[in-house]
Amino acid sequence: MAEEKSQASSSKMLTLKASDGVLFEVELNIAKEMKTVQAYIDDCEDIETIPIPNVLGKHLAIVIEYIKKTNEEYDAEFEKQWNMDDLQLLLLAANYLNISGLQECLCKAIAKRIENKSPEYVRKVFNIENDHSPEEEAKLRKEYKWAFEGVDKD
């Protein structure tokens, strides 16, 4: 939006427009953490509003807050707050916006949630349809028998 011409470039503001129309005014150095946005700026120098067609306003807000606050402590608490649905949408957003730190944080969070769980549980949580034939599945379970022993109660 308004360019404060007399100030250093790090406090220049930019507007991001989420897929549902919500607008976010962010500092340039925050926006640059999103490599996708950086590329946009490189291509069109005097752009004021950048459309983010794949990300809902609610998730873009979370992403921006993450960029501002990220550190070890914040990351550890960050991933606990979201349900599986949000985690996945945030991961898609981080991937689209090309923010490697956030992407790694969310991948770790999802990895933690499938740790020590049975395949049935993982299928249920992620709504994965099992299209293996019973023979195929049995073969894999037998081949790597050790992996299928002892899991958390669902």
């Binding site: 549902d20 809902l56 649905d85 996945q88 949408l89 991961l91 898609l92 991937n95 992407q103 790694e104 991948c107 770790k108 999802i110 990895a111 499938i114 740790e115 020590n116 769980k117 049975s118 395949p119 993982v122 299928r123 992620f126 709504n127 994965i128 349809e129 099992n130 299209d131 293996h132 195929e136 599945e137 894999l140 379970r141 081949e143 790597y144 028998k145 050790w146 992996a147 299928f148």
Partner: protein, 397 residues
Amino acid sequence: MACEEDEDRLSSLTDDILHQILSLTPTKDAVKTGVLSKRWYGLWRSCINIYFTNINLEDESSILNFNLFLSQIYYVHHFEYILFNRFYIDIQYSADPNDIISHSIPSLSQWIKYAAGARVKFLHLLLNYVHGNLHHLNSSPHLPSGVLRCKTLIVLKLRWFLVKSFPFTDKVDFPELKTLHLEDINFKTHSLFMLFLAGCPVLEDLKVANVFFLEDKTDEDDQVSASLNLSNLIRADITNCCFRFPIKTLFNLEFLRIQLSPQMYTPDDFPTFHKLTHLVINNISDLVLQMLHHCPKLQNLELYQKTQSESWDNREQGSWVVPKSAPKCLSSYLRRCTIRDFALQDLHQDIMLARYILNNAGLLQTMTIWSDKEKHEIEIELSSCPRASATCQISVS
């Protein structure tokens, strides 16, 4: 927006993202994803990492089953030329030590040699032995020689090993190692331990807990100790090592946790810690105030008495001696002070120490006391004490 609650979103992520998730997942769980659906059948094969946690091996047969799985993963890993960054193994044994040494260690050793060749960067080899009252350090396995061949390591964590010599080479050489954690390690000589540290020139983070020596210290050991250079070290955590660590070499630290027994250390051992802002001392004695004189920029001080084994050093009963001069950090830098196990051995001395700090710490923001005894009396004594910092908050729990 249409409700997308029931969509299989995870599977709609690209293969690259799923690989990233699987490479952060414990090996066991990553392999299991093969049965989720056809899409997932082969995904794990190209990104499988060595990441084993919460493994319990109770007898020979469980060790052999685990070895079989390890060799299966080896073939996948080898076949797919997977890049090798992380090698994390955390195993608890309650099997017979002979079985551990003859069946489990060789299998792990082979993997470590392979990891060394594949330029692994992060290696955690954490073993543990749980079997009644048997003193487990006596049966610890030899450190696999492959570990010393992993020259590309940035992080190395080891637990429950015996180091008798450095095979194949005379020295340890980890030119890029930044983090080293050693726990439950038995070194044959003091020199071996010093040489291990000397082989890590860019080390920034050191943790040493439960390190013992088979042989007594010699003069030669003292020489090696005196020439040790750890000037890049930023964090050090040294507990339960029954020997005098050459603290003089730690002068660049920002964080230090140390067990300061008066039997082992004297103020002559302390350098000036120019950058130390956070200090945690296990053991309350006269050495605490002496140490403070050597930490001009200290902001955060923590004291506690109990150790991991819930035991504590016996303290000399004595009377409080008012120090001649207040340590500089008290007046100009100290912001937080935490004292745990307060009044564990000597209520009066601990109160005198706390009062002394309150009297002199001009910038102190919080004084936190943790105690199992006499909370009421402690509260009265401390809140009535004149404070150098008007904004200081005291809490007793």
